[in-house]
């Protein structure tokens, strides 16, 4: 897909008539795509990115957002993958009549779900970072798992991993340094893959009003 930059459109919340309910970890990428493509019909609302570590909160959180938004938008889309909800998010979305982006998690749809599935065996022992996770590694992963207080738990968490793969949405030297540092901290080999926005861009381009 062509992602032509536009300097004429600065996204402002509350303007579009199609709502994307998204994980906060995707906010930056979603806004970037809206602005790049001039998708003025899209609005975005996000749920806490920290639910990455507690996906049991996602289905009810998404349902609440949908119910609050109904009537104010012509169409609502969900920009969560299954994200560890084990099908419970899909159940909510089916009941609410809302479509979501396909895939098991954001690493997959950023890579392209087909590409990710093909590499599943080769990547079985890989720990993944996206731009967001690289940017917030210390807070979300290192501190989130208690490794700042208890580094002795590192092998409990990461003993079966071999490499850290950084899926970069936008090439950024600083983020690459952060991701490489994260790999070093976790004692894992480092691999860099530039994915772009993958299936997220395709999904958003098809998010049309009803």
């Amino acid at each position: 897909m062509e992602l032509a930059p536009s300097e004429e459109f600065d996204f402002k919340r509350g303007k579009g008539d199609v709502l994307l309910i998204a994980c906060g970890a995707l906010a930056r990428e979603i806004v970037a795509l809206i602005e790049l493509n001039g998708w003025t019909h899209l609005d975005v609302t996000c749920l806490p990115a920290k639910w990455h570590n507690t996906p049991q909160f996602i289905p009810d959180g998404v349902r609440k957002k949908i119910q609050e938004a109904k009537g104010n938008y012509t169409k609502i889309y969900c920009v969560y993958a299954d994200c560890g909800t084990g099908g419970l998010l899909d159940k909510v979305l089916e009941e609410e009549g809302v479509e979501r982006i396909a895939g098991p998690h954001c690493y997959s749809f950023f890579s392209g779900n087909d590409v990710f599935a093909e590499r599943e065996d080769a990547d079985m022992r890989a720990f993944f970072l996206t731009d967001y996770l690289a940017r917030h590694f210390d807070k979300l992963i290192w501190q989130g798992l208690g490794l700042d207080r208890h580094p002795e738990l590192l092998s409990d968490y990461f003993g079966n991993y071999e490499k850290l793969v950084f899926f970069a949405q936008v090439p950024d030297e600083k983020l690459q340094i952060l991701a490489r540092d994260a790999a070093k901290k976790l004692g894992l080999a480092y691999e860099y893959r530039e994915t772009g926005f993958g299936d997220l861009a395709t999904f958003m381009s098809a998010a049309e009003p009803a």
Partner: protein, 233 residues
């Protein structure tokens, strides 16, 4: 803590010491747990009593506070590592003294999945509850489960998965057991963060276990039913 504040575990009577062990497990203090286990053994406690009254009961409290959102995964891992320290001492003694055995379980993380924190906790708590546990580790194809079942003849098969993409493999294992006419010979328990009861029902498992404490209680229930059935047969 300064040296002056260090508690001399030897100065505590048995009840106080067991209470202190519950607190030390809660705080993940492995060295203190090892020391206390040695003290109780020196006081002629049976390994079985040390295990059940001190360690398992302490972990039960940890499990309740984890379930209620008071403790989180790091704290549970620290507590588990402390219990492991005690188990290293007790395991050979339990075998020597012929402590009561409740049943046997084969457990493993399914193919394509390397996550084992939950599985390890379940294995440890099952062992503490008197089950013989055969841990197959991670990334197990159906063949591994079948071989282990044949070799060890367990009462219970436990499967774990953390990923949405790997949890469907549990159905492959259960369907294979059905094809071989073995499904009803074993209780199949499943667990893992993205699972739920609906999924367990859909794939034909006997039960979904939300956490290690639930796994132990569920396993014990199934074993009790089995014994009742045998008794009334």
């Amino acid at each position: 803590m300064s040296e002056e504040d260090d508690l001399d575990l030897n100065s505590l009577d048995d009840d106080e010491l067991v209470q202190q062990m519950h607190d030390d497990l809660y705080d993940g203090l492995k060295e203190e747990i090892i020391e206390a286990v040695n003290i109780l053994l020196a006081r002629k406690w049976t390994p079985y009593d040390v295990l059940t009254k001190a360690l398992v009961e302490g972990m039960r409290i940890v499990g309740i506070d984890f379930r209620d959102g008071i403790l989180f995964v790091p704290e549970v891992l620290l507590a588990a590592n402390a219990m492991k320290g005690g188990m290293v001492l007790l395991r050979p003694l339990l075998a020597e003294t012929g402590a009561p055995r409740v049943g046997k379980m084969v457990i493993g993380t399914v193919k394509g999945d390397i996550h084992d924190i939950g599985k390890n906790l379940v294995g440890m708590m099952m062992e503490g509850a008197g089950f013989d546990v055969i841990d197959l580790g991670i990334n197990n194809p159906v063949e591994n489960y079948l071989e282990a079942i044949e070799e060890h003849q367990p009462d219970i098969l436990g499967m774990s998965a953390l990923l949405t993409t790997t949890m469907p493999y549990m159905k492959v294992v259960i369907d294979t057991l059905k094809e071989k006419g073995m499904r009803d010979d074993y209780v199949v328990l499943v667990g893992g963060a993205p699972l739920n009861e609906e999924f367990a029902d859909a794939i034909g498992a006997d039960a979904y276990c939300r956490d290690a404490a639930v796994a132990v209680e569920t396993a014990k229930d199934f074993m009790a039913r089995k014994h009742n059935q045998l008794a009334s047969a």
